[in-house]
């Protein structure tokens, strides 16, 4: 039976932290991509988020989001970025946000959709969960993916992300 789900690469942040994590030279031999990540940023005020950026391009992103805060549910949208909620430095010590992004048909000449679910870990009432439908309105094949904090300036040590390739046969 053919292998249809393969780990391509993993990156883990060391003791000094990292401003961003980037997967480059992504092979164009899969059908879809998946990123699974465990992240925490150095932001110290409230829940932070991890932005996904393709091909080092910072424009033409949008998303619609269903959000739970721990006490209420809401929905909203933006035309700025695609992002996963994650832990920041004010969350319970030594915990990390968990998230997964699915990027279908990343090599095709169509706009790129993203399905993303994310949760933060916090031993308190406020702990966000997000379900996101994202869109990058760009027809270029995705060759690199950058992960960067929304509000913080760095990912904390032990933050990690793995990029997987999915084949449909």
């Amino acid at each position: 039976m053919a292998t249809t789900y393969e780990a391509i690469a993993t990156v883990t942040v060391g003791s000094g932290g990292a401003a961003n994590m980037e997967f480059t030279s992504i092979p164009q031999t899969y059908t879809d991509l998946v990123i699974k990540a465990s992240t925490r940023t150095n932001y110290g005020t409230q829940a932070d988020a991890c932005i996904l950026q393709f091909n080092s391009n910072s424009s033409s992103y949008s998303m619609i989001r269903l959000q739970g805060s721990g006490s209420a549910a809401s929905s909203n949208s933006n035309t700025t970025n695609i992002r996963a909620v994650t832990d920041e430095d004010n969350a319970t010590a030594n915990t990390f946000g968990s998230w997964e992004a699915y990027v279908p048909n990343y090599t095709l000449s169509n706009n790129k959709s993203v399905s993303l679910d994310s949760v933060m870990e916090n031993n308190a009432t406020a702990a966000e969960q997000n379900l996101v439908a994202g869109l990058w309105s760009n027809t270029a094949a995705i060759t690199s993916i950058k992960l960067l904090p929304l509000n913080g300036t760095a990912f904390k040590q032990y933050s990690t992300a793995t990029l997987y390739g999915i084949k449909n046969s």
Partner: protein, 71 residues
């Protein structure tokens, strides 16, 4: 100097690279834009909630009754 981690998927090699001055400036600009976008989102959410509460008030509903209706 802040650094970034780059993993080359063709080789599996991860390198730690110092950010350039341009990248640091871009990061600061992005952070400002993100803060503005977040403020805009929160303002839009607050306006939507205020609109709901105004409608509820016109209908003679309390905040608890509105919450029950929307849950």
């Amino acid at each position: 100097m802040p650094t970034k981690l780059i993993v080359d998927c063709s080789t599996g090699v991860t390198t730690e690279v110092e950010l350039t001055a341009e990248e640091i400036a871009q990061r600061e600009a992005d952070a400002q834009a993100a803060a503005q976008a977040k403020a805009d989102e929160e303002a839009a959410a607050a306006a939507k909630q205020a609109e709901k509460e105004a409608i509820a008030a016109r209908l003679g509903l309390s905040a608890e009754e509105l919450s029950t209706l929307l849950s």
